[in-house]
């Protein structure tokens, strides 16, 4: 009967590893291409192992017209989005987590409903408006739309962060002489900080990855994805692959940093 358990274990690990390879292999392959010489893309057959390491492809991508400016724009937009969504979303999340007030469920539902509105329906009319008021083709324009997209997530995440901090702690602080504000600042906020930081990084990734609104709302001040998608059809293959890797890498690093919060974050956003 021992054999049966052994087979179960073996099947489990085989399945688990097969799925892991399915996830990891494509990332390996794009990394491999990004660090091969440019012409390796056109070689047949292309090697599957990192035999000829070269920075040529990446250097070409980075020094291509607009790449650096677009990267800077992407970072600026993502930082603006991060700050805006946190500044607007954290208080709202705190309110949902800590207070019972009439219409709380309606507010919750309203926040969830916003998810139904596609990017297209926000960015196309906003592009028209932004042209009129002179905001078009600026990092602010993109950041505002990205904030509209990320805000519902940030509210729900911060609400769950604050729910996880027992109300008792704040109340204990108040019996020990804190005002409600100082109880929040001295007790809840420090405890919430790691969760809030993770939420902020999550917003960064959302903004860094977004392409539709960025492409619609900019012309010269492109973000990185907007730049890549607009020049896609005219650019050589190795440019596209280097661009793909260049966009994946920072997101992976951020994911590594917030991995501890991963499941709370994404788990809660879908509830």
């Amino acid at each position: 009967m021992k054999g049966r358990a052994w087979i179960g274990s073996a099947l489990w690990y085989m399945g688990a590893i097969a799925l892991a390879l399915w996830v990891l292999a494509p990332i390996y392959l794009i990394g491999l291409l990004a660090f091969s010489p440019r012409m390796a893309v056109y070689r047949w057959p292309r090697p599957l192992l990192p035999l000829e390491f070269s920075l040529e492809t990446m250097r070409f991508f980075v020094s291509a017209t607009g790449t650096l400016a677009a990267t800077r724009n992407s970072v600026v937009v993502a930082l603006l989005t991060m700050m805006l969504s946190l500044a607007l979303g954290a208080p709202a999340g705190y309110a949902l987590a800590r207070f019972l007030f009439p219409g709380r469920e309606a507010v919750r539902m309203g926040i969830l409903m916003t998810r139904m509105f596609p990017m297209a329906i926000l960015s196309i009319p906003l592009a028209v408006t932004f042209i009129r008021i002179g905001l078009y083709d600026t990092p602010w324009a993109v950041a505002l739309v990205h904030t509209a997209m990320a805000l519902p997530f940030v509210i729900l995440i911060t609400a769950s962060v604050f729910v996880s901090i027992p109300r008792d702690l704040e109340e204990a602080a108040m019996t020990l002489g804190c005002s409600p504000l100082s109880a929040f600042l001295r007790i809840s906020l420090p405890l919430a900080l790691p969760g809030l930081a993770a939420a902020a990084l999550f917003t960064f990734v959302i903004s860094w990855n977004e392409v539709f609104a960025a492409a619609i709302l900019t012309l010269r001040q492109r973000t990185l994805p907007a730049l890549v998608i607009t020049v896609l059809n005219e650019s050589p293959l190795y440019f596209r692959f280097a661009g793909g890797f260049f966009m994946v890498a920072p997101a992976l690093v951020i994911l590594l940093i917030i991995r501890r919060f991963l499941f709370n974050l994404w788990g809660i956003t879908s509830r």
Partner: protein, 375 residues
């Protein structure tokens, strides 16, 4: 129904040893209780018998069949979980019939069997409801019914009463005892509640840190604990243990306790200078208001009137002792009481090992059967 045999079962979680080579035998039709504080391994042992945990080594038999490597569904067991695990998306009827359906028992027969256990547990009126519409006590009955209907070789119960409130628990306890008497089923029951263990078990296995310390009938466990741990874990108040030393006098050895001399029965493996514990249950202490020979003076510290009896905390020298008195006797803190310990009610323990010391005289009623799992 069948007997259950566990042979040298070891289970580790990472570096933590949860079960240290446990062996035990549960007789056919026996109500066998695994009792111990949280973290002692009792639930792990139950889960190993259920097949929910795989053992590192050792063997498990149900009836004459070895089930060590079998998954739970091939062991012909049933289990009542601590949280009941009554499926919330199924009506009561479907919950009870679940196991029968998995075994492809014809719907006609399943209906008959469900009806019978439902009647036995008085939940016939609830069959059409969802678990969320039931009270805690009703849900517990559904969980028991779901297990009983399987007519398993052995019924495993993991603290099934711990989620009920005090009054309901009392009721459900008596109910479980009645069910066992009616069905004659082999039951292995895990609890940390010594009162539950005493009231339900044919035998109790007291566990501590992954080992079985003592297996015995409830009364033997209560009267003759095999170790200091068992004595202080079972009984409310716990058994008193007074610390003293064996000394040699003119007419043999005696027990020196806080400057007093108590006679010592002939004990095995005891020598002068050895530290001993005198174990005695609160209700066995003789209490007098006036001094007499062999009585020790004790100063009353706290008096707790508990209704049926009064619980007294008193001090002999530097040591504290709990005793019970019938209500109405005038006792007040500061007063001196004279205590004596009937020799036949005393349980002697080695202070270093915490193990009971056996008496030499065969006359003393058969102490010594400390449990079939040790050694």
């Amino acid at each position: 129904m069948a007997r259950v045999r566990v042979e040298g079962v070891r289970k580790t979680f990472g570096k933590v040893i949860a079960l240290r080579d446990i062996s035990l035998t549960v007789e056919d039709g026996e109500f066998y209780v695994l009792l111990g504080p949280s973290g002692c391994g009792k639930t792990t042992l139950l889960r190993c018998i259920a097949g929910l945990e795989r053992v590192d080594r050792g063997r498990i038999f149900i009836g004459e069949r070895e089930v060590t490597g079998l998954p739970p569904r091939h062991r012909n067991i049933a289990m009542v979980f601590q949280s009941y695990a009554v499926f919330p998306h199924m009506k009561v009827y479907d919950n009870i019939a679940f196991g029968l359906r998995m075994r492809r028992i014809p719907e006609m027969e399943a209906r008959r069997r469900v009806a019978r256990v439902a009647a036995m547990l008085q939940i016939e009126d609830l069959l059409d409801r969802y678990p969320a519409q039931l009270s805690g006590g009703q849900r517990q009955r559904v969980a028991v019914a779901r297990a009983l209907v399987m007519q398993p070789d052995v019924l495993l119960m993991d603290e099934p009463l711990s989620n009920l409130d005090a009054l309901l628990r009392l009721h459900a306890r008596a109910e479980l005892k009645r069910l066992h008497q009616e069905t004659g089923m082999t039951i292995i029951y895990v609890t940390h509640d010594q009162v539950e263990a005493m009231s339900l078990g044919d035998r109790i296995a007291v566990m501590r840190e992954g080992e079985i310390v003592q297996v015995d009938t409830p009364m033997r466990i209560y009267e003759a604990p095999a170790t200091v741990f068992v004595g202080s874990f079972i009984g409310n108040p716990p058994m008193n243990f007074l610390h003293g030393v064996v000394e040699e006098g003119k007419d043999g050895w005696f027990f020196a306790l806080e400057g007093h001399r108590l006679p010592l029965p002939p004990l095995r493996e005891v020598s002068p200078g050895q530290s001993l514990l005198l174990g005695i249950r609160a209700e066995n202490i003789r209490v007098d208001e006036r001094p007499h020979a062999e009585a020790l003076p004790a100063e009353v510290m706290v008096v707790e009137p508990l209704g049926a009896q009064w619980l007294i905390t008193a001090r002999i020298g530097e040591q504290f002792i709990k005793l019970t008195l019938p209500p109405g006797r005038p006792v007040a803190p500061g007063q001196t009481l004279w205590l004596s310990f009937p020799i036949e009610a005393v349980r002697w323990m080695d202070a270093r090992s915490g193990q009971a010391i056996r008496e030499l005289a065969p006359a003393a009623s058969g102490s010594g059967k400390a449990g079939d799992s040790r050694g």
